[in-house]
Subunit: 353 residues, 5 copies
């Protein structure tokens, strides 16, 4: 349940805009990485406190990456420095958000969810990422490790990359695109999981398989709940006519929308597959019960009449002529043999054997 | 059924606009709390009758909170004083309403539903809350205790809060937001309930579990029926261009819409989970029947042939050579042993053991 | 099937606009009630034939209520007198219509369905009601008794009622509202029925319960088919800018739409509940089969081995040392007792007892 | 499968617009009926070849009814004479089309499906009908007998009918309306079929019933696939502002739309009913298995312990004191009787008897 | 899983627009066929490298068909020569795309999926085809053999075909139409497969049938996922007002949309059918279990009482009067016969025989 609805008790009765961190702290201390770059140079440094993060206008792209959300005071100060509305800072801190985009004059605010699926245990973990960007600055807020944006950092190293020669909007796009890539990775693990459960289902289904299908179903349900808002977000971003987004970036946003549409389609296909697996499970259980019943019926139907016959000649009546006859005993075996063969043929005909 | 459709017999044949209280009276006497505040001062007092509630224009925000609906005359008089259309007063009194918003010139009328889920018995109780607000007055109508707006009263005490420095529209927003918060609390209890039923389901399912799932399903169905109109209401309020709502409040209404969208998503996820639990239940029943059948089949299939063999040598035929042999008896035990072991191997192979 | 699709054989091959009554005549003779009223006076009289029903313009509201549809000639004549298009008269006569609204210059034509559910037998009966109204005249067509508009007639008696002081559009609204009230009454009986079937389901389910659920399902299906068009109709009426509808009436039409939306929601909730009841039924059947199987398995598994043991010592072998021993018989009882107790413990452990 | 997708192998690799007849020829020779009429006169004659069908402008309505589609050359020539685009002629010939409407300047082209359900075998047969009409000419193409338009021909005979006094658009409307009437007839047979299967289901369900339900389901599925496009078609026709359609005809088209909406609703109700029947079937099977199990369990549980008791006293131990007692045998019967009665009471309590 | 989501590991961390081939290479070497034609002449030749593919303006239609995608450098060069945006070239290379259309000034870019179903093994294989066309050039990219466009090549040979006398837009339409034809062929195989599984289902269902149904379901799911984007694509193309598409071609695009709508309908009908087959399967399994149970119950219920009777007279009590009677033994047979006949009648009445 935790995944769907985090405890909000802390916030009950507080006015909107109260800065309270909803979620588990994943870092000891807030870490602030500042990266400044243009086509020719790139500077990275870790900043001590919120006071060193101030909006500047120097013709250079600045990316402020805040890792760790539990220090509400620092986050609040950064938000204040960059003119974020208290409600938005609250959204950054409350990791219970759904993905969304909000546009303001000269800036865009985005909340995203990143998912990781453990390849071994298939546990899902979620992290909330928020972005605020204008034409030359991107501020990103992460809950903590693992760093979702490592690949972007690597790409920024290359002097000749497109990333270095464009503005903050392209950086923001790249960050969002990376988050979408994490969904694809999560869906890939999920796909592998589905495959392995399906194999188990076809060759050796047990109650454990059913529980695994239930877990799968829940995971897909959970991802679905997150993927749909991503699609809306991407579509809104593509349609946006906010001047923060340069025309050259639009084409990339179209690509982003395409990716989120594919995410939705894959999720829906997974749902259908899993519901199909449940049907397979139920019919395999029915089939096995059928088989068990057949074995019981064959044994019981053959031997119960035999036992009856044997019982008859075990009776102690004084006047039972057959008991005295010379060939009674072998004849009885003959009769039993004939009956047995007839029944086997009957069961064969019914395709029970 | 009561939750879905209260008895309306009282109203049959009455013209629209008739003031009849549909619902159970939850108070002995109607209580009217009047709170007047601005940034510097705050006055609270309980008013005796409807005549003391009159619209005034004194540059101060007035909140009239009417608790108890059964005294239709008093309610009617208050409505009349503030110029409410009889149809709206009828909506206030008929606790059978769905959440809705109606806009008029210079005022907005809102009907809401508050839900409480008992943490022990998981019983749902509903209360209807109606609001009418213009730029400087909010009138709220509650059915009775518990007071849904206690947290707002506390926040009003603080002189430096946002609530004190803004108009009636922000107060109205805060009241609605409090109602939405009650939904989140209800969903949290529901989530805990789902978790406990699921645990029971996986470790010790019984017919009682199925009935519990049925109750869960009904509760979710019921909340769903109430949450959807809340979402429409919030969206309508956000989109409204009624001058009653100040621009500064708009941002908060957007936040409200976000919350109701999350409510809907959680409810839908709950629905899916519960239907998954039903499947789990059915397959666990099938599995257990399978196991029972296996035990029966193994016992019957092993011992029925043995009994037959014993029956054969219990027959009283005069001419049965085996009966005379010296080692017949131990040999028979040997035969039985061999057959038994073979069958056990067979069942092992079939994975029934 | 009758409820969904009445025999139309009579009409095959006839051109559109042919006046043929499709349905069962519910009256011996067509009865025409004419009510004329304004704020000060009210006249009611029964008119003999269609010729006495003519449109007049006397500054008074006229309500012509035609009860009984089988006399196609009279209906046709009335339609002609008031300038109804033959296609509309055909709609009045063909009780196979779905609820709909058609607007013309200076008049509105409405077809409605009224439903009654017998509280004892739970049989549904339907009646078609058509209305045509302009600014000062309402013509209503009913199939026959029971009179759906009795409550309106009573309200018209009161001189101080809103009904008497407004125009024909408010009368038409009141008639439609009365039809919607009949739906609520029908849903209430349906709700009571669901409750009683559910109780039976939880405490004593049988195949009869399943058939009752099937009947319920069909009834809900049938009402749903009628409620959806009612909602569309109400919404269309609310949105209509036909001058026939006075502004003062608009607010009431909004109320009407709200009611039909609630109807739809209740119907949908009923559908969900009934499908949940089916699942409960199936799982209770499975559970009972499980219990039957357990009893069989316990009996068979305990006594079949015992019978085998008894069979062994019933054999007539000459050389069976145990037969001669002094304490064989009591020992055998001991062995049986030990085995029995072990098995009971085993079954207890498996929670079969 | 044939019904859903006719073999198109013949057409593979051919360019669009190739005139190939897809379907089974239902006639030996193409027959062309030409009917010319106005208010005063009516001429019918059978024409030999395509060359005699030429567009003429003589102030008279001309209806050219082409029956039989396998003679692609003739069809092609007629199409050419009346200026039909090769793609449309291809649509006429390919009986694999879905219902559709295409509008051009001065003409409208319509493809329809007519369905017949055999009342005995419940087999569905489909025929494709295409219409092209302008202000004074209607060309209709049918696959063959039975003649779908017989009732229209009869109505044309009457000199005073509306059909004779209006233009080609009303004739086209009448033809389409006739096709819709055929759907109602088909749904009526389907309804009767559903009723008979349902009766069988409630009183004597067997595997055959299930297969019948499957057939029903398939039939409904098939009709649904055809009815939805009919609804779109009718709505498009109603909304069309093509001058080919006279204003006087518009009202009739509205009626047509109403009919197709009812078709859709009935089909959807049928679908729901059939799926309910499947549930009934499954639960009746479960019930009967339950009953079988009960009989088995009662017999086995009562007699297996008795057999054990009898087996005990059939043992040949030397020292069994009971064997010697005087009243052992009657006492044993007493014991058996007591056990038997106890068990019957137990089963009675469990409601298995 | 492979069909839904190809391994994208290669691409992780790469910037958008990176040219990486995602998929399995199906060719050794990229093959480039260039076809140039107008009404009078047709030239086909295989070109060596990308450098020979340059946009030219010679009043002739040029079709460049690139077969094989693994040589990213060549593809990249061709894309560069014709001014394709790197993102589009990336789409061409990433065979993980969904069908889509993107319009630019003076050109249209289309990605399609072709499906083949093996008639024997029912394996589905997919190939991605991309098209870029302007008024006189079409560039198509295929993954490899089989050549999806063979039929077009044949039609181009004919000097008098429509294809030769129109522009590149008609060629592009023809290529897309061919892809849609491949869907129909795939659906035909699927239909045949459904028919054969259904027959197996009705006459000899086994667990293998269920697995076959599961495979069918997955195949339909997979095709559905591809068909829906095709429909959107066709509708977008039809609605497009890009000057690249000549008016004369519009009519053909309408035809294309019709075809894709039919694809969607057939797929949906298949889905319904397959889910119906699953129900049939489950109920046939239940039925067979029922039959097995009946046989067991009949045998056990008849012979267990007989065995008990025989057991009684096998007891060794000293005082059992019946043992001494003269006609005990034949009387016993008589009793057994009577009981047996009674039970057979009872089972007959219950319709178990």
């Amino acid at each position: 349940m935790e995944l769907f609805l985090k405890r909000q008790a802390k916030k009950a009765g507080l006015p909107p805009g109260s800065l309270v961190h909803v979620g588990t702290p994943k870092m000891d201390k807030v870490r602030i990485n500042v990266t400044e770059y243009n086509e020719s140079e790139l500077r990275e440094h870790v900043v001590e406190g919120a006071d060193e993060c101030l909006p500047e206008d120097r013709g250079i792209v600045t990316w402020i990456d805040v890792v760790g959300l539990h220090d509400t005071e620092t986050i609040g100060k950064i938000g204040h420095n960059f003119g974020l509305h208290p409600l938005l800072v609250e959204d950054v801190l409350n990791t219970n958000q759904r993905a969304k985009i909000e546009e303001y004059e000269g800036r865009i605010f985005v909340v995203l969810k990143v998912y990781y699926i453990d390849k071994q245990t298939h546990d899902i973990s979620a992290e909330q990422v928020s972005l605020m960007f204008n034409r030359d600055t991107v501020i990103s807020f992460q809950e903590g490790d693992p760093d979702a944006f490592q690949s972007i950092r690597k790409r920024l190293m290359k002097t000749n990359g497109r990333l270095r020669s464009t503005g903050a909007d392209y950086l923001a796009y790249s960050l969002i695109d990376t988050v979408v890539d994490h969904y694809f990775i999560a869906l890939e693990s999920l796909g592998g999981w589905i495959d392995s459960v399906e194999e188990e289902l076809l060759f050796d289904p047990s109650m454990k398989t059913m529980q695994e299908i239930h877990r799968l179903r829940r995971a897909v349900l959970f991802l679905k709940k997150s993927v749909w808002p991503m699609r809306e977000l991407a579509a809104d971003l593509e349609r946006s006519d906010n001047p923060v987004i340069r025309d050259a970036t639009k084409l990339y946003l179209r690509d982003l929308t395409d990716h989120t549409v594919r995410l939705v389609e894959i999720i829906e296909a997974f749902r259908d597959m899993i519901s199909g697996m449940q049907d397979i499970y139920l019919s395999s259980v029915s089939n096995r019960m059928n088989e068990v019943m057949k074995v019981l019926t064959i044994f019981a139907s053959i031997f119960i009449p035999f036992t009856f016959i044997a019982g008859i000649y075990g009776m102690n009546f004084k006047y039972m002529p057959e008991l005295e006859w010379r060939w009674s005993y072998p004849a009885l075996w003959g009769v039993i043999l004939v009956i047995g063969v007839c029944m086997l043929i009957y069961f064969k005909r019914k395709r029970w054997l």
